[in-house]
Symmetry: C2
Subunit: 235 residues, 2 copies
């Protein structure tokens, strides 16, 4: 009865891990490997083999007991499940540092993401070309998105304009938004939003680092004449 509507097909953590498996499998295939077990994949990523199995099961493929999975069908199955079997075309809005980087990023080959156009509201930027693609004015977004049947939008504008850009994307028929801004986008439920929150990621890292360093400083400061009192037996 409950339909969160975000949960299509598989839970988020599974989708995310499948991308990691894919990366490893492609590497193993290059090394000439033709079969692979969940145990093996789990070793590479330090994940529980049962978890790997469940994730792979979600893609619908069946393996062979005692052997594992045939490499080619497994990779194909993951690619189909992630939509990486065909090119996904996307429009990017916000040709700043981050947007420009994404346009030139080499890491999207596996996913076959193709950023086919970039838009910016800054007249200074419009007309310039980034990684071989001309930056277009925002006014052309909606018409082009519909005509070219582009369903994915990438938001790399500052927080202040992100909501406005998202609304425009929805108007242009965009169905999935990759959001690099730090705000929560309000969108109709038929639109899928995935947030990349760099500041949250950094918060985790800096929060833990700070606490660790503070703690060590405190421990080291018990004795203040150079002896590091709090440290465990030196390794």
């Amino acid at each position: 009865m409950k339909d969160r509507s975000a949960e299509i097909g598989a839970p988020g953590p599974t989708l995310r891990r499948l991308a990691l498996y894919h990366h490893i499998l492609v590497r193993l295939r290059q090394g000439g490997r033709e079969v692979v077990s969940c145990t093996r994949i789990g070793q590479e990523l330090r994940l529980d083999p049962t978890q790997v199995r469940k994730d792979i099961e979600a893609t619908g493929i069946v393996g062979k007991a005692r052997i594992g999975y045939d490499m080619e069908p497994l990779i194909a199955s993951i690619e189909e499940f992630l939509g990486w079997d065909n090119v996904t075309e996307a429009f990017l809005v916000g040709a700043g540092a981050l947007g420009t980087a994404l346009m030139g990023y080499e890491g999207f080959q596996a996913s076959r993401l193709s950023i086919v156009a970039a838009f910016d509201k800054d007249p200074e930027k419009v007309g310039r070309s980034v990684h071989g693609k001309e930056i277009l004015p925002l006014s052309k977004f909606q018409d082009l998105a519909r005509r070219m049947n582009v369903h994915m939008g990438i938001v790399t504008v500052p927080a202040a304009s992100a909501q406005e850009v998202a609304a425009m994307m929805v108007q242009g028929g965009i169905r999935a938004i990759w959001n690099f801004s730090p705000i929560r986008l309000e969108t109709p439920e038929e639109v899928i939003v995935e947030d990349v929150r760099l500041s949250s990621s950094l918060a985790l890292l800096s929060g833990r680092l700070t606490r660790r360093l503070r703690k060590e400083r405190e421990e080291g400061a018990i004795d203040d004449d150079g002896n590091e009192a709090g440290s465990k037996a030196g390794l």
Copy 2:
């Protein structure tokens, strides 16, 4: 007895959300607001107020029943908890598209992250300057990191060299690594690693988008002479 060692102070989700709260609070403060309740923060982010309260509680601050929290101490408390009360200096390795973008990224002001130097192994890049900072050769990393007491490293090199770079960082005394490569870094347990997996994030988005579009196409294809049979009452 169990010490996962990653769980210092607060669970990951809490740290991540605190960054979101911080962003909203700063905005509300700019608007002149002097107190704020968890209910209010929750509304902005569509989060359960109880969850917001628990997260805030983790920072150690106490509020006032019926009122909420005083804005200034609350922001200060979050900043202290995340280590955002002081500048964190970081070294970045890999001056490609992504690395360059991070160096010029405007979104790090709140966290007071300062990327003080960038390194690259490509002699072509070494010596050039990016956003006002000269790119240095990898060979200088360890010595500089120790001399300047830099504890955070940012990895924006391709997968193939990421492990090698991480090892070098550890050797240079780096204690926290922000990893943008798609591989799992092997590091001693005193090093904190936070992965930003763009391909996993994209997998989630493209996987769901693909399944949704495929499903709609199937539904729409029941009747193939132009009537969109599967669609719900048009809005």
